[in-house]
């Protein structure tokens, strides 16, 4: 007799399934995120062009406004995606034999959050990564020399946050707990706002990580995890026993992937690159010979 599936494992069902789901649905969610970004940029662009371009304070204000609009639009599109998924889910449930749909909404929530996180993180960090290859000195104009490494950490936090927000958001929409929704949107705004404090990294990075951890714990409990499950999973040691309370493989896969992607590379280029570039620049006289 099979024991009932432990609820915590609904968080991320068998790793293989969620990887293919991730690949399959990544473009859809990325598309939604991109459309939200596009709309926000449009609003910002129009507002900038309608205003006085010389006034830097106004421009900064417009930037803040643009960022806030973008955050709100992202959440709106997350909700729109949720609605779309619900419809698809219902459709699938109707045509399937036992009235249940083959995809689990919790799984979808996780994958959706992760996709949003990936596209958002990649958009934020890829230009920085590309620039980090080229010759240069970080912070030569008086900015912080820790630009790359903090960008890496921020991106990682953002990816995790989007994943957790996805889970919480979908669950809140399912159960119609609108205060949860409001809290998610508020925390997104707060996170984005904290990045405005940016060269003062203690004030921005630390709170953002605190928020990330809190969201992570909240998402874990929302997905049905509990301390008992954690202990059971740890003792199973990653047994792939399907739903039997064992380590959900999707979480480590997604987390490790995002950590590496957002942290590993910039660490390599950013951290020890600082001194290297300085010496190279003085040696080469600034000419990039055979660089791509």
């Amino acid at each position: 007799k099979k024991p009932p599936p432990a609820p915590g494992c609904g968080f991320a069902a068998p790793g293989a399934a969620s990887l293919s789901q991730l690949v399959l649905s990544f473009p859809h969610r990325a598309f939604f995120w991109l459309v939200s970004l596009l709309l926000a940029s449009l609003i910002w662009f129009v507002s900038v062009h309608l205003s006085d371009q010389e006034d830097s304070k106004l421009q900064y204000g417009l930037l803040v406004f643009g960022a806030a609009v973008s955050v709100l639009l992202q959440e709106v599109f997350r909700f729109a995606y949720f609605k779309l998924l619900k419809k698809a889910d219902e459709g699938l449930a109707m045509i399937s034999e036992d009235g249940r749909s083959p995809i689990s909404l919790k799984q979808m929530a996780y994958v959706s959050g992760l996709s949003f996180g990936i596209i958002s993180g990649v958009f934020s960090v890829i230009n920085i990564l590309a620039d980090s290859i080229g010759p240069g000195i970080v912070g030569i104009h008086g900015d912080s020399p820790y630009y790359f490494i903090t960008s890496a950490f921020l991106t990682m936090a953002l990816v995790f946050l989007h994943t957790f927000w996805g889970v919480i958001f979908f669950d809140a929409c399912e159960k119609r707990r609108y205060w949860c929704l409001g809290l998610v949107v508020a925390s997104h705004l707060v996170t984005s706002g904290l990045t405005f404090l940016n060269p003062w990294y203690e004030a921005s990075l630390v709170p953002i990580y605190i928020i990330t951890v809190c969201m992570g714990v909240w998402a874990f409990f929302t997905a049905g995890g509990s301390f008992r499950n954690v202990l059971k999973c740890l003792s199973c040691k990653g047994l792939a026993g399907g739903r039997e309370g064992c380590v959900p493989r999707g979480v480590p896969v997604g987390s490790v992937a995002s950590v590496w992607a957002s942290l590993g590379l910039p660490w390599v280029f950013g951290w020890d690159g600082c001194s290297r570039w300085g010496s190279q620049r003085s040696r080469d006289g600034g000419d990039d010979g055979s660089g791509p």
Partner: protein
């Protein structure tokens, strides 16, 4: 060696453009361009055609969908539900199976564009785009690009019509020879140029004997894999590589504005050629259906997916309309067989149909899962993304946005394919999304993201 192409309902596939050949399932397209030298007309035409996407679905779907217009079998609702579920499940697999090669092709093109400077340097133009864009005024430049597009599209139309006529009058040998010549040029000459440029970029010295050995092996194996038999993955890899090479040639030799206008025009052409009743490609399909022949199996990327899960239902379902499924499946099979025989046997391979033993029906059904996408689609998707990478002022966001847009377009097209169950043009939706996203990201999102990044703001 086993050919594991899946090609189930050929008749529901529209023939691809010049890229597809009548003969073998694997003839590669081959456009032959050189720096402004006149390529053979045939080669050119091939390069520009558009393909369409066909999807091989399970036999029941094939039967349902009816390609050749034969009667759709009546099914009970339970069977239909089962089939719908299978369709969706395997539809998802199909989508992934197309994502991977399209993504790989784009990755190769973008990686080359970003690292090898040769492909972003202006070194002349093709003869098919004679008007230069180095004009002082914007209006003149626009006019030139529109004229270039008109010339290019007319060349394509003429070539397609030529191909249709050749097919109508059964000049199979001519087409076969044309394709072999094209693939020879692509696999040897373009690879040589590509390899030369890559070696130059990374400053790696290579002596001629080694180079000749490498190119010879690469080209010979490619010819065999593509035109004859080969392991499926190797065949797919070669098709991806030649699509990438072709896309690179286009990116290099098409002037900027002309490239965008051509992309737009070619998706409109694709739409019309496939869907209009008098479109050349549609006429081609109809001719092939009348003759009950496989249509242009070549120059199509096909993903094989063998599974025996749920065979029972499709089996029983397929036995009903078995005759019709059989014919279409048989046609599919013929495509796979043809590469191994000479082209003159094309008509003869059709005759063994009635004599096939029943046991091969299962084997056949196992093979009948997979999706096909024409190589021209790969090429034009890669041209769009490559151009975005080349001209978007060093910005990766634009490239990424175009990439996502193309994938979404592909998903939507596959969805429509599942709904309509007939061959559809794969270009219009993806290219439209790609163009919209490219221009909007380049002009709207880029300044926004740059300003945000300069203050290290995250949204």
């Amino acid at each position: 060696m086993m050919i594991t192409f899946m090609n189930n309902s050929d008749s529901e596939e529209e023939p691809c453009n010049e890229r597809t050949s009548l003969m073998s399932a694997e003839s590669p397209p081959v456009p032959s361009h050189q720096d402004g030298l006149q390529a053979s007309e045939a080669g050119e035409a091939q390069t520009h055609r558009k393909r369409r996407m066909g999807s091989s679905r399970s036999p029941n779907n094939a039967a349902d969908g009816n390609m050749s217009g034969s009667s759709v079998p009546v099914r009970e609702s339970a069977l239909e539900n089962e089939e719908e579920e299978l369709t969706l499940k395997y539809g998802a697999k199909h989508v992934i199976m197309l994502f991977v090669p399209v993504t790989l092709c784009m990755i190769v093109v973008v990686a080359t564009i970003k690292s090898v400077r040769f492909y972003t340097e202006k070194n002349g133009q093709l003869i098919y785009t004679p008007f230069s864009e180095d004009t002082p005024s914007v209006g003149q430049r626009l006019l030139n690009s529109v004229l270039n597009t008109i010339i290019m599209i007319s060349v394509i139309v003429v070539m397609t019509v030529f191909l249709v006529l050749l097919y109508k009058y059964r000049c199979y040998k001519f087409i076969h020879g044309w394709l072999i010549l094209s693939s020879l040029m692509l696999l040897f000459l373009f690879t040589y140029i590509y390899l030369g440029e890559v070696l130059k970029t990374y400053n790696v010295a290579m002596d001629y004997p080694t180079l000749i050995l490498v190119i010879w092996n690469f080209g010979a194996v490619g010819m065999i894999c593509i035109h004859w038999k080969g392991p499926l993955q190797l065949q797919q890899a070669y098709l991806i590589m030649i699509s990438a090479l072709m896309a690179l040639v286009f990116i290099k030799y098409l002037p900027e504005w002309s490239a965008w206008v051509i992309l737009g025009a070619i998706s409109i052409y694709d739409l019309m050629a496939v869907l209009c009743p008098k479109g050349p490609l549609r006429m081609l399909v109809e001719t092939a259906q009348e003759r009950n022949e496989p249509i242009f199996p070549a120059l199509i990327y096909s993903s094989a997916m063998m599974w025996t899960v749920g065979m029972a239902k499709p089996d029983t379902a397929a036995r009903g309309p078995s005759q019709q499924t059989w014919d279409t499946a048989e046609d599919g099979r013929e495509n796979h067989r043809s590469p191994s025989h000479s082209d003159s046997e094309i008509s003869e391979t059709r005759s063994p149909v009635p004599t096939h033993p029943i046991t091969s029906l299962e084997e056949l059904e196992e093979e009948e899962r997979g999706v096909k996408l024409g190589l021209g689609d790969f090429i034009f998707y890669s041209v769009l993304v490559g151009k975005a990478a080349a001209t978007a002022s060093g910005d990766w966001n634009t490239t990424l946005a175009s990439f996502v847009a193309i994938l979404i377009g592909l998903c939507l097209t596959l969805l429509l394919l599942a709904v309509f169950k007939k061959a559809l043009p794969a270009l219009p939706i993806s290219i439209t999304f790609g163009l919209v996203f490219y221009f909007s990201t380049d002009n709207l999102v880029r300044p926004f993201m740059d300003t945000l990044a300069s203050h290290q703001l995250y949204i």
